[in-house]
Amino acid sequence: MPKSFVCSKGGFTRCLVGFFLCCSVTMGWPAPRTPVDANEVLERLPVKAGDPDASRLKQYQQAVNRAPKDAQTVTALARLYFDLAMTHGDPRYVGYADALINGYPGQLSAELLFVRSLLRQYRHAFEDAKIDLRAALAAQPDFAEAYGWLAAIALVQADYAGANQACTALGAAGAPTLQAGCLGLTLAYTGQLAQGYQALEKGLARADDPGNRLWLLTRLAEVAAWQGRTALAESHYKSALRLGLTDAYLRAAWSDFLLDQQRPKEVVALLDGKEASDPLLLRLALAHQQTGSPKAPALVKMLDERFAATRLRGDTTHRAEEARYALQLRRDTGSALALAQANYEVQREPRDARILLEAALAAGQRAPAQKVEAWAKSSGFQGAPLGQLLTQLATLPKGNP
């Protein structure tokens, strides 16, 4: 049974509930039921009373109830919701923040426009997010974070001129650390890996804030891996992990690195128990598949249910992950290719290019990855393992897209 160690730490009831939760996810609950014991615990709330988030949440919610028109109070709560969504990978908080801002009476302040842009980019509504960010900057021209997000969105959309512009503005807005990170990534995404790496290092030397350090270390690790310097990449990932912050992106990136290095056991150790987040569950399932573990099918089935649930509500934000799941876990090349192509219409980072290339190669079709070939040519990006995949693709005959 998975998580049997929980039983030795928690009580028997908890263990039992845990067992049934696992079963309900892996086997599907048969039908609605009427519990017999009034004390049966049906649900554990995600934020516990004792933790600082819970008291802040309560405090901010009460403040908003007292002063629902106060922009600062509403911003603080909306921002907290967004941060909680990020740290825990729990999108419900995004919905709360959205409703809070929707219900705000009167014109949105620069801060509220900024938070709304975060929510919009989270849903991959990048154009709407940019509109909010520009409006926030019009109201408050030295809003460094807004430039930072403009750059982040530009990089996702492979708009490197736009990213450069935002990086320059970050310097003018007095945010040198963010600027260094911004420039470093833009350089790396346009094929200047060594210069990009140096710029990110420069940013790291300036960064004090642990959150910023974690971000820069993660991205340094990624650039080092693109350069083929795996030992260096590993040391950056390990430094980032030593900061002791919960960060779903770092865990996912580190897991991908380990999977590429054929070190699935470390991924299992890292992600066991973190199945709540779809991206981490995907990596855990891939790791179990690599080790040939008998747990793999149950995790794949769990992913089946997750993706089915998001499809039901018409949510398309996880298409990159779903493409990987289709290609590597379900071996469904057709679906993988369609998903990776659809994702590439919206997101064009190197990882989005990679899954589309892998799907196209698996399908033996060159035409669907035409946009990636065009991007690689125009951007000059040359990180591993994309170069190798592109070479393989070039051996396929050109077809009609």
């Binding site: 004390n39 049906l42 419900r92 990170g181 992106y249 128990g273 973190k274 649930a309």
Partner: protein, 386 residues
Amino acid sequence: MSRGFWGQGVVRAMAMAWLMLMAAAAQAHKSSDSYLAVRAQGDQVSVQWDIALRDIQFAIGLDANGDDQITWGELQQKQAELQAWAGSRLAVQRGGTCSFRQQGLQVDEHTDGSYAVLTLAGQCPQRSGPFSIQYSLLFDVDAQHRGLLKLDLDGATHSAVLGPQSGVLKFSEAATAGDQFVQYLREGVWHIWIGFDHILFLICLLLPAVLTRRGGGLSSTGMRGVGGFREASVGVLWVVTAFTLAHSITLSLAALEIISLPSRLVESAIAASVVFAAANNLRPVVQQRWLMAFCFGLIHGFGFASVLAELGLPANALVLSLVGFNLGVELGQMAIVAVFLPLAFVLRHTPFYQRGVFRLGSWAAMLVALAWFVERAFNLSIFWWT
């Protein structure tokens, strides 16, 4: 997940996060959904509504003792409040507002945790007419919440995602059985007309109907026109009836999912049937064309069934729609015969018919069908338009 890390400065204690994840282990993090299953038969409506306990907690509060756990007892205590809250956020209309009485409270599990299951029974002012649903659960506190609706309206199923912008969702009355019948009849006609392989097979069998063998030899060169129209039409009637009977049998068996054959096999066999029918005109082997029509008709029925499978048969009028489709195919077929037979009859004595249409036509049909066969059996593409 798209996220950057710009200016993120929130410090989290790893241990705390670990503890939280432990508690939530195996439950997915996903946006909030409720599952709304509505079944309407005439003026009677029954609803099963699954709402996440986490969402109920956020909207009206469930954790009475503040221990961050929701027990069955705590949920039961709030039953009345929950029912009033949820009930005020769902409006169903059929000829006016339907009134509901709450029936029960149960629990169920979905991928992201435990759900309260509310069952409601309702009565609408009218037994027929358009049916509408207005849904507004949680939208005031969670703009990403969605209601996932599954509606069974007089036997026809609909599904929809209910969001803040959905407003009042109107579902027109399920098509009556008569409407369905007519719709499938039309589809049947349409599909024989665009099914070149079926038409070609039929024509190959009909071509010799206006000719008769001189002296009973096996050579196709010794053909002459039949004497009377009666003789010609009797032959046609036999062929058409046998073909119809055969493909009706297999179409029904396949549509009702009693037998299923791989489509590549069926499609290849259909092409082969045309090759055989055309070759039989040129060098007769089988004299009883009705027998050929029957045997190969069985295969063609499976072909029609694949078309029908794409259309889907409505659950509430399964047999009627199947009969409609089949009749449509017959009507389409009769139309082809009605055009073909008089023309062929008039031209039957001419060398144009005997050599041009009959011999050359059979050769052409055989070659085309042979190419179809190769395409279908070996999954190749020979014709540029296919």
